[in-house]
C-alpha cells in the first residue's frame, strides 16, 4: 500500500511539476512566436504548439476530456483549416510591415500597456485560497466525461442548444454565401462524350507544331496535305504569332514544289541568321 502511495505521490507532485514547467514554457514561447514570426504558416505552427501544450496541461489537471477535445477541435480542425487557407492563398506571402494607418503602432503600444496595467491591477487584488482540485467534481457522476455530460445536458442544456443553433446558423450562412444556383442540370460524363462524338470531331485538337524554324507555341501544326492549320494554335495567338506567317509561306513553297515548279518563289536566305 505504501509503495502504491509513493507511486501516486510521484505522479501527483514531481510529475505534475515537470509537465507544468515543460508545457508552460512551450505555450508561452508558442504565443510569443505566433506574434513575432513574419510568415503566416509559422504563426499557425506556433499557435498549434501552444494549443497542444495547453491541452496537456488540462489533462494534467484532471480534465482529460477538455484536453483531448481541444486537440481534436482546435489543433486538428480549426488550425488545419487555417493552414489550408494560408497554403491556398500564397506560399511565400509574408506580412507587410508597412504602417498603413498613421500612429497605429504608438496606439497599439499604449493600449497594450493599458491592458497590461488593468490585468496587473485585477490579478494583484485577487486572493488565492488553497487549491480544491477536480477530484470531487470527477467522482460525483462517476467520471470526468460523465460529469461534463451531466452539466451540459442538465443544468446548461438551454445554453448548449442555443450555442449549437448559433453555430448551425453560421454554417448555413456560410453555405448560402458560397452557393451558386445552377439553372441547368450538370452534363454527365456520358452526355459530354455523346456531344463530343456528334460534334464531328471526337478527337483532340491538333497539337502545336514544333519545326525547324520555330519552336514557339504559336507555330501551327501541318495537316496531312502539308498545309498549316490554325486550329492547333491557342485562340489568343491566332493571327498574332509571326510563326504562322512563316509557315504559310513554307506551305506555299512546298505546294509550289509539289506542283512541279522548279523555281522556288520568294526564297528568304536571310532567315537562316
Amino acid at each position: 500500500m505504501t509503495g502504491l502511495l509513493a507511486v501516486v505521490d510521484l505522479s501527483g507532485n514531481t510529475g505534475e511539476q515537470v509537465v507544468f514547467w515543460v508545457c508552460a514554457v512551450v505555450a508561452v514561447v508558442g504565443a510569443v512566436g505566433m506574434i513575432a514570426s513574419p510568415k503566416a504558416v509559422h504563426s499557425a505552427l506556433f499557435i498549434a504548439s501552444t494549443m497542444i501544450s495547453l491541452a496537456v496541461l488540462y489533462v494534467a489537471q484532471s480534465g482529460p476530456f477538455l484536453g483531448m477535445t481541444q486537440i481534436v477541435v482546435y489543433t486538428g480542425a480549426v488550425m488545419m483549416l487555417f493552414l489550408f487557407v494560408l497554403m491556398l492563398i500564397g506560399v511565400d506571402s509574408t506580412d507587410s510591415l508597412v504602417e498603413t494607418i498613421k500612429g497605429q503602432r504608438l496606439a497599439a503600444v499604449l493600449i497594450g500597456l493599458g491592458f497590461l496595467g488593468l490585468l496587473l491591477v485585477g490579478f494583484g487584488s485577487l486572493t488565492f485560497s488553497s487549491a480544491q482540485g477536480l477530484d470531487d467534481a470527477n467522482t460525483i457522476d462517476g467520471g470526468n466525461v460523465e460529469g461534463i455530460a451531466h452539466l451540459i445536458f442538465g443544468r446548461y442544456l438551454l445554453a448548449f442548444e442555443a450555442t449549437s443553433a448559433l453555430l448551425i446558423t453560421a454554417a448555413l450562412g456560410a453555405m448560402m454565401m458560397a452557393h451558386r444556383e445552377r439553372h441547368t442540370p450538370r452534363k454527365t460524363q456520358r452526355e459530354l462524350s455523346e456531344l463530343r462524338v456528334r460534334s464531328g470531331e471526337p478527337q483532340n485538337l491538333p497539337g502545336p507544331g514544333v519545326y525547324a524554324r520555330h519552336n514557339a507555341i504559336g507555330t501551327p501544326a501541318l495537316l496531312p496535305d502539308g498545309n498549316p492549320t490554325d486550329r492547333s494554335v491557342p485562340e489568343s495567338l491566332r493571327g498574332v504569332s509571326t510563326a504562322a506567317g512563316d509557315h504559310h509561306e513554307d506551305a506555299a513553297q512546298i505546294n509550289a514544289l509539289a506542283a512541279g515548279q522548279s523555281t522556288i518563289p520568294s526564297a528568304t536566305p536571310e532567315d537562316e541568321s
Binding site: V7, K39, H42, I71, G76, L81, L83, F84, M87, T184
Partner: protein
C-alpha cells in the same frame, strides 16, 4: 487492500513501476518498427500474388529480409534539401509524422492482465477515460507532418499534395469520429479497455455493422491509402507531399504511413472486432484462449486480416477523382453516419426509458411508418394530379423589376446587336454573348 479490480475497470492502470513502463514503451516501439518491416514485405508479396507475380523472394527466406535491405539502402542515401525549402519546417515535418504515428499504440489493449517479472499488469501501456479521443487527437496531429512537408518543400506538387491532405483529413476525421459514437453508446465508455470488455458477448462490428463499414472506409481515407491516396497520387503529383524528400527523411514518412496502417487496424480490432479476445468458436471450445499471453496471437491475427483488406483494396480499386472523393465523404459518409447514430441513440433511449425489447419497438415503428404512408397517400389522392410540371413562361429579363437570369428551359433572346454581328460575320457565332453579360464586349 481492496480485491484486485477486474479487467474493464480503469483502476487497473496507473500502478506500473517506472521500469515496467519503460519496458512496455520500448517493446511497443520495437514491435511497431518490426511490424512495419514485415508489413511492407506482406503487402508486396500479397499484391504481387494478386497481380500474378512473385514479389520479393531473393533476400533471405521467402524474401523476408527485403525490407531490411531497403531500409539500409535508404539510410545510406543522401538527404536532399531543396533550395526553396523552408529548412526548419522541412526537417520537422517527417519527425512530426513518425512521432505521432508511434504514439497511438500507447492506449491499444493487446491482452489481459498478465504477470511480468512478478508484477500483475495489463498488456497495455496505459488507458484513461477518453483514450479513443486521444487516438483521434494524435491522428490529427500526425497529419500536420504531411501538410507541413507539402508546404515547406517549396514545390508545386508537394504543395498540392499537402493541400489535398489537409482537406481530406478534416473531412474523413469527421466520419471516423461519428463512426465511434455508436460504439461509445453501446460500451458506455470511451476507454479502449472498457470497450474491449464490453464485447464479451457480441462484437460491435456485428451489432453496429454500419458504423464498422463507415470506419473501414474512413480509415483508408485517413491513412492516404489506395483508392484514397490522393495526397501522393503518383499519376498527378509525382509523389505528392514527399516528392522532394529522400534518404532517411523519406523513410520516416514511409514508416509513419505503415505504422498508421497498423494503428487504424488496431483501432478497428479494438472497437469493432472484440480487441484481443479470441474469435467466437475458439473461446467456447478452449476457455484458456483469453488468458495469459495467448490473446496477443488473436490480436495480431485480427490486425493482419485488416491489413490484408488494405492490400486487397489497393490491388483492386483504381484511385478516385478528388471531387468524387470529397463528395463521397461529405454527402454520403457523414449523413449516413448521422442518421445511423440517430437510430442507435433513439433505440438506446427507448430501451432505457421503457425497457421494451427490439421486437416490440420494431412493431411500433412499422405501425408508425404505415400510418405516415397511408396519410400521405390519402392526401395525394385528394390533391389530384401533379400540375407543377408546366412549361416555364417566356423569358422576361426584368421579371419583378430586376435583371434576372433565365430559368431552366428558358433561353436568352438573340439581341439586335448580336444579329448585326452575325450578319457582318466577323466573329464566329460562338463568340456572341448575350447583351449585358460581358463588359469587355464593345
Amino acid at each position: 487492500m481492496n480485491p484486485a479490480p477486474a479487467y474493464g475497470d480503469l483502476a487497473i492502470f496507473g500502478h506500473d513501476p517506472l521500469w515496467l513502463i519503460i519496458i512496455k514503451a520500448l517493446v511497443l516501439f520495437i514491435a511497431l518498427v518490426l511490424l512495419t518491416l514485415f508489413t511492407t514485405w506482406f503487402e508486396r508479396r500479397v499484391v504481387a500474388r494478386m497481380q500474378q507475380r512473385s514479389g520479393p523472394n531473393r533476400v533471405g527466406p521467402l524474401g523476408l529480409l527485403q525490407p531490411l535491405a531497403d531500409g539500409i539502402k535508404l539510410a545510406l542515401k543522401e538527404g536532399i534539401t531543396p533550395a526553396n525549402a523552408d529548412r526548419v519546417v522541412y526537417l520537422l515535418a517527417p519527425i512530426i509524422a513518425a512521432a505521432a504515428a508511434m504514439l497511438v499504440f500507447a492506449v491499444i489493449p493487446i491482452g489481459p492482465v498478465v504477470s511480468i517479472f512478478g508484477v500483475e499488469t495489463p498488456l497495455q501501456l496505459t488507458d484513461f477515460s477518453v483514450s479513443t479521443l486521444y487516438i483521434l487527437a494524435i491522428a490529427s496531429v500526425g497529419i500536420y507532418g504531411i501538410v507541413l512537408a507539402g508546404w515547406s518543400s517549396g514545390s508545386t506538387y508537394s504543395l498540392l499534395g499537402g493541400l489535398r491532405s489537409s482537406a481530406q483529413m478534416v473531412s474523413y476525421e469527421i466520419a471516423m469520429g461519428l463512426s465511434f459514437v455508436a460504439v461509445f453508446l453501446y460500451a458506455g465508455s470511451m476507454s479502449t479497455s472498457q470497450i474491449v470488455a464490453g464485447q464479451i458477448d457480441w462484437w460491435y462490428g456485428v451489432l453496429l455493422l454500419p458504423s464498422f463499414v463507415i470506419y473501414l472506409i474512413s480509415m483508408v481515407g485517413e491513412t492516404n491509402r489506395a483508392p484514397f491516396d490522393l495526397p501522393e497520387a503518383e499519376g498527378e503529383l509525382v509523389a505528392g507531399f514527399h516528392t522532394e524528400y529522400s534518404g532517411l527523411r523519406w523513410a520516416m514518412f514511409f514508416l509513419a504511413e505503415y505504422v498508421n496502417m497498423i494503428n487504424v487496424a488496431a483501432v478497428a480490432t479494438t472497437l469493432f472486432l472484440g480487441g484481443w479476445r479470441a474469435p467466437a468458436p475458439i473461446s467456447t471450445v478452449w476457455p484458456g484462449a483469453n488468458e495469459g499471453w495467448w490473446p496477443i496471437l488473436w490480436f495480431l491475427a485480427k490486425i493482419f486480416v485488416i491489413l490484408f483488406v488494405f492490400v486487397w483494396l489497393r490491388g483492386t480499386l483504381p484511385r478516385l477523382r478528388y471531387d468524387q472523393f470529397m463528395r463521397f465523404g461529405w454527402k454520403v459518409l457523414i449523413p449516413v453516419s448521422i442518421v445511423w447514430i440517430l437510430l442507435v441513440s433513439a433505440w438506446r433511449g427507448i430501451r432505457n426509458e421503457y425497457g421494451t425489447d427490439l421486437r416490440t419497438t420494431l412493431i411500433w415503428l412499422g405501425v408508425a411508418l404505415f400510418l405516415v404512408a397511408a396519410v400521405t397517400y390519402l392526401l395525394d389522392l385528394r390533391r389530384g394530379p401533379d400540375d407543377t410540371a408546366v412549361a416555364p413562361p417566356r423569358f422576361d429579363p426584368y421579371a419583378g423589376g430586376y435583371p434576372v437570369p433565365p430559368l431552366p428551359g428558358q433561353e436568352f433572346p438573340v439581341t439586335r446587336r448580336a444579329k448585326a454581328i452575325v450578319t457582318a460575320s466577323v466573329i464566329e457565332p460562338s463568340d456572341i454573348r448575350p447583351e449585358g453579360e460581358g463588359d469587355t464586349h464593345e
